[in-house]
Symmetry: C2
Subunit: 223 residues, 2 copies
C-alpha cells in the first residue's frame, strides 16, 4: 500500500515539477523538526533576496496561518496549506497538496518558490513534491545524534542548515561528533552553520541558493 | 481508511492495557518532537526512582539503539522498538508494536513502564498504545507558538514537561505567551518547568508520577 501511495505521489510530483519548469521556477523543499527555525530562516532569506530574486512561499502546517502571517509583510506571495482535514492532521506535505496550492500561487514572474514543510523529521523525507532541492534544517538544540536516529532525512537532503549555532555553547552539541554522524549516513552532505538570529552563515546560504539556481537552469537547458 | 486503522489500533491498545493492569503496571507514553530531551528526562527519572519504584522502558526509534544504550546502565529493563521495516520508518508507535515488545519485557514486578515514542509532534498523538497517561515534552528552544501549530498533541496530553528551561534566556520564548497559547487549546493542561540538565522541576515531576500512580490504582480498585 505504502509503495502505491508513494508511486502515485511521484507521478503528481513530476507534473508539479513540469509546471515549475515551464515558468522557470527553482523550488526548494525546506524540511525540519518542529521549532528548528524554518520560518525565521525564510524571513531572513526573503529580506536578503528582496529586489534581487522574485520569491514565493508555500507554507505547510497542520493548522493555522501563524507562519504565513509572519511572512506576509515581506511582500512575497504566500499560500497556506493546512493538513488538518484528517483527524490530527497529516504530518507531511505531499505532491497533491502542492498541486492544489499552485492554483493560488502566481508562478509567472517567480524565480524561486520555497515550500516550508510540516515540522517532522520522518515522513516529509519520503514524499517528493516536485522540488529541485531538498534542504533540511537542524537546530543545535536538537542534539548531535539526530543523523543516526532519522537517517532518511539526512540522506535525501542536498544541504543541511545547522541553525541556532549561537546556542552551541549552551547545549550539549559536539560539532566533531555531529560531523562524524552526518558522514555515517550521507558523507557528501554540505553543512552550513547558521544563526537566523545573528545572521551568521546567511551569506553562505544565499550563495548556495543562487549557485544551485544557476546549476539547475544550466541542466534544464542541456536536457 | 484512517478511521479503520485507528479503530483496530484502539482494540489492541485495550488488550495492552489489560495486560499492564493484570500486572499492576502504571504506563506513561512520553511524546515530543525530536531532540526535546525525552531520553535525558528518562535518565534522570530512572535515577530518581531507583530503589523506590521498579521501572521498565520501551524505547521507540525509527532506527538504532542509541537511546536504549544510554538507559541500559541504569539497571531498568529496556526493550527497543525500531519502526524502520517500512521505507523511511514509521513516524510513531502503535499498539501492535507495543504488543510485540511486551514479549521481551518482564512485566512481573514492574510498577511503572515508560514508553518513549518516536520524536514527532503529530502522529503519536493519534495512536493509543495502552497507556495510563500521555505526557508530552516541549523544549523551550522549539518556541512558544507550538500549541497553536500542533494542537492535538497538547489536547490529548495529561501533563506537559516544559524542558530545557535553563535555555529560556537564550531563546525567543515568552512564558506568558506560551501559557496563553496552551490555554487556547487545552486550558486544564498542567505544565511543569523542567531542566533535565540542572535538575530544576525534577521533584515536581516525580511527585506528579507517584500521585498519578496512586490515583490510577484507586480508580482500578473502584472499577
Amino acid at each position: 500500500v505504502l509503495r502505491d501511495v508513494l508511486g502515485s505521489n511521484d507521478l503528481i510530483a513530476r507534473e508539479n515539477r513540469q509546471a515549475f519548469d515551464a515558468h522557470g521556477c527553482f523550488v526548494v523543499n525546506l524540511m525540519s523538526a518542529p521549532g528548528s527555525g524554518k520560518t525565521t530562516i525564510l524571513e531572513r532569506t526573503l529580506e536578503a533576496l528582496d529586489g534581487r530574486i522574485r520569491s514565493g512561499v508555500i507554507e505547510g502546517d497542520v493548522l493555522g496561518t501563524l507562519d504565513a502571517d509572519r511572512l506576509a509583510p515581506l511582500g512575497a506571495p504566500v499560500v497556506q496549506i493546512d493538513t488538518d482535514p484528517h483527524f490530527g492532521g497529516e504530518c507531511h506535505l505531499d505532491a497533491r497538496m502542492i498541486r492544489n496550492a499552485l492554483a493560488a500561487l502566481p508562478l509567472d514572474g517567480l524565480e524561486i518558490v520555497f515550500i516550508e514543510n510540516v515540522g517532522n523529521l520522518v515522513c516529509p523525507a519520503e514524499f517528493k513534491v516536485g522540488e529541485d532541492r531538498k534542504v533540511m534544517v537542524l537546530s543545535v538544540a536538537e542534539g548531535d545524534d539526530k543523523p543516526l536516529k532519522y537517517p532518511l532525512m539526512f540522506r535525501v537532503s542536498h544541504l543541511l542548515l545547522l541553525n541556532k549555532i549561537d546556542l552551541a555553547d549552551h547545549v550539549d552539541f559536539e560539532p566533531a561528533r555531529f560531523r562524524a554522524n552526518v558522514a555515517r549516513v550521507n558523507p557528501g552532505l554540505p553543512v552550513i552553520e547558521l544563526s537566523a538570529k545573528t545572521g551568521q552563515g546567511l551569506e553562505a546560504w544565499i550563495d548556495w541558493l543562487t549557485t544551485s539556481m544557476a546549476e539547475s537552469r544550466r541542466s534544464s537547458h542541456v536536457g
